[in-house]
């Protein structure tokens, strides 16, 4: 029995199959990245693991126990940070820490919070409100809040998706460092192949929906720590990037894109050149035609 296991998990929303027959097993201490296109159910998948939504079919289990709802053993870092805007950095983390470690003394909790604020390098900003922080800093707070509750597994839902490229790089390095020291089991959801290659032990592509499922996993055997500049020239890195990218592109190639548009047929009545030139809003029936273009 693996640490985290998903058995034939399926989920539909409003009759539309989003995920079908997801099978996944992750060992303790592993860093797994799930890579896929936007809007194909990546967030749904992580919400299933987090227990925020229930699968229609199949089950999710962590350490042999079936997941029935959300809980602090699965620390979820939200895509849009989800910090409470009326609480400072310190208070946002304190809300989580106070809830998860009610038995601790006030000093213990404060020291614990300080430790994680320092880990994400925000000690100078711990009394600021989220709106006074940049996007990257907000996501750091969110990571600190999640790490501070000491979850068994860390779920990162496109944590860097909303950040600019430079901040993204810095935070990727920080996540890599934190993972080196904490050795948590991590599931990272991302749409960036490079990000996945830099961080993960294993990459699993998510196919195209409706009814997306997981592709074959690709082990990443690059040595750690991975240097983002040096890695670009590493033949293994290049090979893996080509492999993952080609897989993802292959999913997309099977997808037909259809485009509906409304055509206005030309007006073939003899035109009165003396009449004032105006756009004729009321069109005769038959002048409009709906057309669907399908690319192959």
């Amino acid at each position: 029995m693996a640490f985290l296991e998903l058995n034939n998990v399926s989920k539909s929303f409003g009759g539309q199959r989003v995920l079908s027959d997801i099978n996944l097993s992750i060992e303790e201490g592993e860093f797994v990245a799930i890579v896929g296109y936007s809007g194909q159910g990546k967030t749904t998948l992580i919400n299933l693991i987090a227990g925020l939504i229930k699968p229609d079919k199949g089950e999710v289990s962590l350490e042999g126990k079936v997941v029935t709802g959300p809980g602090p053993d699965r620390g979820l870092v939200f895509q849009n940070y989800s910090l409470l805007p009326w609480l400072t950095v310190q208070e946002n983390i304190a809300l989580a820490v106070d809830q998860v470690f009610p038995g601790w003394t006030a000093e213990q909790r404060l020291a614990h919070i300080d430790k994680y604020v320092a880990m994400v390098k925000l000690s100078h900003a711990k009394d600021r409100l989220p709106k006074q922080l940049s996007g990257g800093m907000r996501q750091r707070v969110s990571v600190a809040r999640t790490l501070a509750i000491n979850p068994r597994i860390l779920l990162l839902d496109e944590p860097l998706g909303a950040l600019d490229a430079l901040t993204r790089g810095t935070l990727q390095d920080e996540i890599a460092n934190i993972w080196q020291t904490e050795r948590k089991t991590v599931v990272l959801i991302t749409n960036s192949v490079d990000e996945a290659l830099l961080l993960a032990d294993r990459i699993i592509p998510l196919t195209i929906g409706p009814g997306a499922t997981l592709g074959e996993s690709i082990p990443v055997t690059l040595a750690r720590p991975r240097d983002r500049k040096g890695v670009n020239h590493d033949p293994e890195f290049k090979r893996l990037r080509a492999l993952v990218t080609n897989q993802l592109l292959a999913f997309n190639a099977n997808r037909k894109v259809s485009l509906s548009r409304k055509l206005i047929r030309p007006d073939l009545l003899p035109e009165d050149l003396e009449a004032p030139r105006v756009n004729r809003p009321p069109r005769r029936p038959g002048e409009e035609k709906n057309e669907v273009v399908v690319t192959s």
Partner: protein, 262 residues
Amino acid sequence: MKSFKIDWLILPLIGVACVLLTWTVSSATWAKDLPSPLKTWEASKPYIMEPFTKRGEMDQGILRFSWYSLVLVAQGYAIALIIGTPIGFFLGLSTTFTKTFDPIIQVLRPVSPLAWLPLGLVLFLGTGKDAGTYGALFTIAICSMWPTVLNTAVGVRAVPQDYLNVGKVLKLSRWKTLTKILIPATLPYMFTGFRLSLGIAWLVIVAAEMLTGRPGVGGFLWQEYNALIYEHIILSIITIGVIGFILDRLMSLVEARFKAIS
């Protein structure tokens, strides 16, 4: 600096001057019974210059009357908030509750204070208490409650799912979710409701005092109409307007504070 003065001082003063001019011309021409601004000032002077004197039950300084009205408004308004906010939360949280009570709220909401007051008087007539006061309180509370109820409900529905997910992942208890997430997230909406409610409460007090004959700005207005001292009607109108304006500004300041946080 110069444009600041024009915007905030000179232009409003021009507006006031226009109204005063229309008023003077009207009182001199087609509305002979309307006292001119000058006559109004002379007749109102004792009430303004000695705003807190009490010469008789219905003959008191204008601020003293205003104080009576404000005290009654504060009480009715407090009742409205205490009842209205929880109802708003229930409406926002439970669709069943909404389906059950929303229609009746929508029917009661547009009913005028003048229609509620007789019912208020009837309700408290039998209890042997001061039916006038309690009836007025009832009317203020029931009329001014709706903006608070509806804004709170909208605010609760507008709480981002992400905030609630944070609570779910942490397994916050219902009480903690309410106090740590729902209430803070809803506060800006609640205060918009509170401000609108206060405006209505102040509208209602005048009607309530007119009908019950309680001492207060509205009561004074009605009494002076019956006593044919029309100058004092205008004095009362201006007082009611100025106080309503000040109350609204004060609430806006509080509201802006809460808006700034989230």
